[in-house]
């Protein structure tokens, strides 16, 4: 059953997908930093307010994934920021997250050597988002 993008149910399903992924578990071994996703508002896409996703990831496990204000996500060790429609492209596999970062479509803040070391984990994390059936605000 599909869930509303950015809802608590979406966060829960996303967390479940991450914890189900053996590929993520292996690739993220040793990861011990929080990751914040900032989804910037796009009122013309029926997404009027920015939101933040705070991910407490530790050693291959998602301990918690919460949706809240963008300011919470901005406090994380690593912050990835993009407008709503870019995140939608990533979730629908229309935009590869690595390419998006190299092109500046997704903006990354945090220690670059660390994130590069865990490229495979971040790719698998992106795969997990694509497995959550989503109801998009500009499609409802």
């Amino acid at each position: 059953m599909s869930v509303k993008f950015g809802s608590d149910d979406w966060a829960k399903q996303f967390k479940d997908e991450v914890n189900k992924s053996s590929a993520y578990k292996a690739a993220a071994k040793g990861w011990k930093w929080t990751v914040g996703l900032v989804v910037e508002a796009e009122p013309d896409k029926n997404f009027p307010e920015s939101l933040g996703v705070v991910m407490d990831l530790y050693d291959g496990e998602a301990r918690d994934i919460k949706v809240g204000p963008a300011s919470d996500a901005q406090k994380c060790d690593f912050v990835i920021t993009a407008p709503y429609s870019r995140w939608k492209q990533v979730s629908k596999k229309e935009l590869d997250a690595t390419k998006g970062m190299l092109q500046g479509k997704l903006k990354l803040k945090g220690d670059l050597p660390t994130i590069v070391r865990y490229t495979k984990a971040s790719q698998e994390m992106t795969e997990c988002t694509t497995r959550v059936p989503v109801e998009w605000p500009d499609e409802s």
């Binding site: 390419k99 970062m101 190299l102 092109q103 500046g104 903006k107 490229t119």
Partner: protein
């Protein structure tokens, strides 16, 4: 046309002192996201590892990197302890690396062995070697510049 006078410092956002932030500069006032990412990565690597700093301080070479699936590239002009990054490919390059984004990221994930040589026998190394054999990774100027490529790989590697 590039404008070396309008460079930006990689450490600018960190508020480092001028002397501290002078390792990497950008030829353009508005470097591409790819240029900023590479600059940030190299600067962090060099600052964190004395061995990489030693390589950085002696390396003189112009290295082009072209990411084939996003049609973007940079030229890294290493000049014995200074690096200037140009958007796009500039002339007179020592080495030019052409690969997809994922492979470029793999290059910075190559481990460095005890003799300072990149490790090609682990999973990442085998993947890179296979791409080289299948010409999904092309390195122009490789044969006469193997020592330079190894030095660049050491600077580039996050390990």
């Amino acid at each position: 046309m590039h404008d070396p006078g309008s460079g930006r410092m990689a450490g600018r956002k960190l508020g480092l002192a001028a002397k501290e932030s002078s390792l990497v500069q950008y030829a353009r006032a508005e470097p591409s996201a790819f240029a900023e990412m590479l600059g940030g990565l190299i600067e962090a690597n060099v600052r964190a590892h004395p061995g990489k700093r030693k390589d950085f301080d002696v390396l003189v070479a112009r290295v082009g990197i072209w990411v084939t699936d996003i049609d973007e590239g940079v030229t890294l002009a290493f000049d014995a302890g200074r690096l200037t990054i140009y958007n796009g490919l500039e002339p007179e390059r020592t080495i030019t690396i052409r690969a997809e984004a994922e492979t470029v990221m793999s290059l910075s994930n190559l481990k460095i062995g005890p003799l300072g040589l990149p490790v090609y026998h682990d999973e990442v190394g085998r993947g890179v070697a296979l791409k080289l054999l299948r010409r999904k990774l092309r390195i122009d100027g490789l044969l006469p510049n193997i020592a330079t490529l190894n030095r660049v790989t050491r600077i580039f590697s996050v390990h």
